[in-house]
Subunit: 424 residues, 2 copies
Amino acid sequence: MNIPTTDKPRIVVIGGGFAGISFIRNLKKVNAQVVLFDRHNYHTFQPLLYQVSTAGLEPDSIAYPLRKIFRKHKDFHFRLAEVEAIDPEKKQLTTSIGPLSFDYLVIATGTRTNFFGNESIKTHSMPMKTVPQALNIRSLMLQNIEKADITDDPEERRSLLNFVIAGAGPTGVELAGALAEFRKSILKNDYPLIETNDMQVHLVEGSSRVLSPMSEHASKKAQKFLEGMGVIVHLNTMVKSYDGNTVVTADGKLFKTATFIWAAGVTGAPVQGIDGNALVARQNRYKVDSFNQIEGFQNIFALGDVALMKTHAFPNGHPQVAQPAIQQGRRLALNIIRELAGKEMKPFKYTDKGTMATIGRNRAVADIKNMRFAGTFAWFLWMVVHLFFLIGFRNRVVTFFNWTYNYINYDKAARLIIRPFKKA
Amino acid sequence: MNIPTTDKPRIVVIGGGFAGISFIRNLKKVNAQVVLFDRHNYHTFQPLLYQVSTAGLEPDSIAYPLRKIFRKHKDFHFRLAEVEAIDPEKKQLTTSIGPLSFDYLVIATGTRTNFFGNESIKTHSMPMKTVPQALNIRSLMLQNIEKADITDDPEERRSLLNFVIAGAGPTGVELAGALAEFRKSILKNDYPLIETNDMQVHLVEGSSRVLSPMSEHASKKAQKFLEGMGVIVHLNTMVKSYDGNTVVTADGKLFKTATFIWAAGVTGAPVQGIDGNALVARQNRYKVDSFNQIEGFQNIFALGDVALMKTHAFPNGHPQVAQPAIQQGRRLALNIIRELAGKEMKPFKYTDKGTMATIGRNRAVADIKNMRFAGTFAWFLWMVVHLFFLIGFRNRVVTFFNWTYNYINYDKAARLIIRPFKKA
C-alpha cells in the first residue's frame, strides 16, 4: 500500500472520528510514523449530522478532509481503506488495500447503528450515522413531501407526510425538532396546497423519558419544547417492526409512514482479530484499562465509543459522545510520547464538560456540572460550543452564516434532492 | 397530479433553468395559473458546476430550491416530474405523474450532453451537465488520487493521475484550469508521496483553438494561461474512443487515463410530440420566430438553448449560454402579459453583454462589446458577474466567502467523496 519503510516506530490508527483525530493531533511532534485508515476521506462532525438531514446545513460544512487536518505532520500517511482484521501476535493488519505491520495500534472505530437483529427494521428504516446516510434522509424527506403534494389520495398523502423517528436520544430529539421547524417554516411557505397539520412528526422512545442520559430537568424541558413545536412523543414504546409502510410497536400502535428514521441504538464497531475476553459482547466495546490499553495487549489501544473503561463514576463506561473520545485521544497521545521517551504512562481522567441538546429555535437544554439550563441561553451556548468544536475556520464561518441566515429568514436552504448518480 | 382547476389560463413551463426561471419571474403579476415541471427540485447555476467538480464549491451554493424562488407567486405550482410527451392538438401533456392540459406551453428544456452516437464514450466518460454528475466527477477525481497514492505500480499511478478533458469550450477550459490549480495547491500539500508532475491535465479540442466562440485574442490568452499552469492543450484533435482505460484520438494519439471528462458537445433536449418541421435535426433545437413561438404553433413557445431563433446577427441561432435564455424568458413573459391584455407581442432583441471564461487564479478572459480583457481585471469582473447572477443572498455570501477563503489559502475545501448510498 505504498507506506514508506521506516526505522521509527509505526503507529497505526483505525478511524478518523473525534478520538482518532484528537490522538493524532496531539502526536504532532512524535518521532514516529503515523498511518490513519478511514473508509471516508473526511472527518464527520456527527453532532450536526441531523442538520444535514433536515436541509439546514450543507454536508461540506460539517465534514473536513482528513489529509488536510494533518497536512503539517511529518511522516503522516492517510489511507482510504477498510481494516479487515488484526493479527495481534504478528503485529499486522489485513486491509482492503493489503497488509501492514504496526508497532502500536489504536482502534478508534466508534459505533455503528444497532438494529438489535431486527431484519425488517434493518431493511426498511433509515439510519443516520454517516454523511451519505444523512443526505439520503434529506432526499427521501424532500421527495416524499413532493410526492404528497402531487397525490390525490388522502391516505397516501398522510403516509408521505408522516415522519416517525425511533429513539429519543440527542439524535432523535434534535432531528424531531428540526423536522418540526421544517414544517413550520418551509412547508407552510413553499407548499401552498399542503396544510401544515397534514405533516406529523412522531418520536418513539422505549424508555420513560426523552434524553435519558441527561438530567430529569433536561428531559422534562426537552419534551415540553418538542410538544410545543407539535412533535408527538410516545414514551415507553418499543418499535417491533417496519415493513416499509407501517411501523408496528410492541403495544400494538400502528404508524403508516413512508419515512422511518432509526436512531434507537448504536453498538461498537470492533475489528476482527481481537475478541474473546477483550470484547464486551453486549455493547461490542473493548475492555480497556485507565491507559486505554485493551485487556491482554501491550501495544493495542482502543479509544472513544469503541472503548469501555470502567471507572468509579462510570461503572458501565463513559458516555458514547465526543468529549470522552477527544480527551482519551489526547491522553493516549501524550502517554505514547512518554513511553517512547522511557517515561511511565499516566492514567486517564475524565473531565465532564456537561451535555446539551438543541430542540429548535431558542430552545435547548444543557446540564453543566450541577447547573441546569433550558431555553434561549442553553441554545446560545449550544451554538457557541458546536462552532468551537467544528474543525476548520471555513466550516465555522459557513456554519455560522447559515445559522444566522436560517434564523433570520426562518429558512432551510440546503434542499437538494441528490440521488445515486445516473448517467447522461 | 393535484393541480387546482382554474378559469384562468394555464401556462405550463418545462424546465427550471435560466430561461424557465427568468420567464416565470417576470410573470409574477400575471392573471394566470403557472405550472413548472423539472426533474430536479432545484435550479442549477451551470456556469459554476465545474467548481463543484473540482472541490472549490459545495453543490448547495450553486443550486437553489425552485419552490423557494417562486414562493411569493400566487397560483404557482411546481411539479418534480418528467414531461414525456406533448399533444399540441389537444393542448395536453403526458408526464411521469399523469396528464395535464395547458393553454400556453413554454419549452425550456435546454440541452443534454451530445456523445455524437459514440457508444464507447457514452458508456465510459463522465459528462458534466448536472449537480449529481459534477459530484460524481469530484468523487472519481479524489478517489483516483487516493488510489494513485496507494499503488506501487508506476503505470497504474500514471493512469490514475492522468486527467483528460474533451472539448475546450468554456466548460472544458475552466475545468482544466481548476484541475491544474488543484494539482498545484492540494496535491502538493496533502499528498506528500506524489510528485506534482506525476499528475497531468490534457485538454483535447477538435477545432483549431480553445474557446472558439470567443475572440481570437481570448483564445490565445486562454491557451497561454492554461499552458502556463501546466495544462497540455491538444488542438485539431478528435477523440475516437474511450474504453475506460485509454482515450484514442483520430490521429492515433493514446492517453491512458482513469478519468475522462466529456465536455465536447451538447444537443437540444426537445420533448416528444413536437417534431417534424419545427425541429432542426442537426442541433435538436426548435425553430422559433422572433416571439419565441415554435414554427407552426400559436400557443407553444421554446426558450433558451432548445430554441433556434435565426437573426441577422446570429444566422445559426443565439449562443447556447445564459444570457439569451434569460433575455428571451423575460421578453416572452412580457409578451404573454401583453397578449392576455389584448395587446400585440413585441419581437425579441438580444443585447450582447459579452462572454467570459476563467482559467484560474487571477486569470480570465472577457470579450465585452469591442473590448478584450485578459488577466486579473477580467478575473475580477468574472467573479462580480457570477456572484451577481447567482440566485439567492445566501448562495452569494457563501460563494463569495469560499472564493476569498480559497484564494487566500490556496485551498479547495469541499473534498468529500460521496458515493451512492449504501445501508448501515
